[in-house]
């Protein structure tokens, strides 16, 4: 039991693993992050530390600033107060280069086929026409279950397929920190389960640090080591729930159910 909502309000960072051991430099460190859009405060004094190789889910009601948090971490928001750093480098000083992001919408290039779209995610020093890079892209196409669609354009794909292309693009980037903004929200239940397991495989194989924003409590509990519950408007960290279940996990694991209950309680549902 990491902390109660009360405790985390006093000092949410205390609840996070990274800050307990000052020697360990967290892969992702957010301290006192406040982000305003005009008069609207989207995030208020958010603290978050994610260790290298950790899988953290961020849940919260709509409008609590979940997506804003990811935007800050990817370097898309230049102005904010507080600190946001990846491997100790501020996201505004190139720290965001190590961060890959799968957006909530597919955001694909309409004129490019699936292969080209995924190749956009390849690291800058990789030539997309290189046979090895091609194989890598083909492997990703297979991993997200889109075999045979390599030459298709986004207009020919369903919403769920487009979202998987976007997911494959994020994986192609092979970032140290992978951020995902509700990447499975447009998928049917079965595909969603498949892609969640696929993400877990990739995470295990690559040892990447993952932060996943979702509104799906079940998904958060199943995937994450820790679930950060954001609440209110402006967004603040309500509590952090540790998911104790062993991996590989069964979706029906008692520990997951307990974690789900805890998250749901923290959300005040």
């Amino acid at each position: 039991m990491p902390s109660t909502g009360e405790a985390s309000k006093r000092d949410p960072a205390e609840a996070t693993l990274g800050s307990e051991d000052p020697a360990a430099d967290p892969a992702l460190a957010v301290r006192g992050l406040t982000k305003r859009y005009g008069d609207t405060v989207a995030l208020d004094e958010v603290d978050l530390a994610i260790d290298g190789g950790e899988f953290v889910a961020v849940v919260g009601p709509s409008g609590c600033g979940k997506s804003t948090l990811l935007r800050v971490l990817t370097g898309l928001e230049e102005r904010f107060e507080g600190r946001a750093a990846v491997d100790g480098v501020d996201v505004r000083d190139g720290g965001s280069d190590a961060v890959g992001m799968v957006f909530q919408e597919p955001r694909l290039l309409a004129w490019a086929d699936v292969r080209e779209n995924i190749a956009v995610g390849l690291p800058a020093d990789v030539d997309p026409d290189d046979p090895a890079a091609r194989d890598r892209v083909d492997g990703l196409i297979e991993a997200v279950g889109l075999d045979g669609f390599a030459e298709s354009r986004p207009g020919e794909l369903s919403g769920g397929m487009a979202q998987r292309v976007s997911l494959a693009r994020g994986l192609a980037y092979e970032p140290e920190v992978l951020l995902l903004d509700e990447p499975f929200s447009a998928l049917d239940q079965l595909t969603k389960y498949e892609q969640q397991d696929n993400l877990l495989d990739v995470w295990r194989e690559r040892g990447a640090t993952v932060a996943l924003v979702t509104h799906d409590v079940e998904e958060a509990a199943y995937l994450a080591d820790r679930v950060v519950v954001l609440g209110g408007q402006p967004g603040t960290v309500e509590t952090v729930v540790d998911v104790e279940a062993d991996r590989p996990r069964e979706r029906t694991d008692e520990a997951l159910l307990a974690a789900r209950r805890e998250i749901t309680d923290a959300l005040g549902v």
Binding site: T74, G75, L76, S96, D97, V99, G100, M101, F103, E105, R107, L109, A110, W111, A112, V120, G121, P123, A124, R153, P154, G155, R169, Y173
Partner: protein
Amino acid sequence: MATTRETETGDVGSALAGALPDADRFRWLLGLVVPAALVVVWHLLVATGVFAAHQLPQPLRVVETLYGMAATGELWGHIAITLQRVFFGTLLGVSVGIVLGTVTGLYGLAEDLLDPLLQSLKNIPSLAWVPLFLLWFGIGEGAKVLLIAVGAFFPVYLNLSTGIGNVSEDLIEVAEVYDLGRFESLRRVVFPAAVPSLLVGIRGGVGLAWMFVVAAELIAASQGIGFLMSDGRVLARPDIIVGSILLFAFFGNLSDLAVKEVEKRAVDW
């Protein structure tokens, strides 16, 4: 009731199409019915004396005149020089339009500096340029090509500049998150996204090039379809005037179809 009837018609239509698979292929011929009817009416009006033959020639007379000029070879010289002017004028106008459209689309400073000027210049009617161009460049080919270039320039500039400026922010963020870099994000995201706008601009530019070539040739030319027209007026030969109009109609449509075809192939997503 109306819906039912519509459905029925639809069914009958598809049933017919099933029985006569080629029926749809000849649908475009329907577009010729009204023009053909107008030619017949035209013929009747002149034949019955409603219009005097010295003001409006019979359709066949126009055809005869064009055929006669084609047979003596006189016609080809006029057509060739007009096509040449339109070609080089369009080439020049489109090129400059692409350069300035790109620069103003990409750089806010360039837009602030150039756009207000160009926006007001575009409202100057084509004929207003003629005296100045004659004064500056004489009655040679240069003046005409430049005048046509002015016409072709504006639609290309306006469409491309807004096209580049309006490339979806979502896609630009994708390029940013995946660290494509300035050059690659232009090559892979911004320019392809602006191609449809560019082609719309080129189509408009070609249309205006034909307008401007008439202006140039009516006033200062000794050859060309426009010259043929004004010559027809001087010689009181309505058949030549109407014939020239038909030639403009033919080549104008032809060039529009050509650009449309390019558009269809290039923007196929």
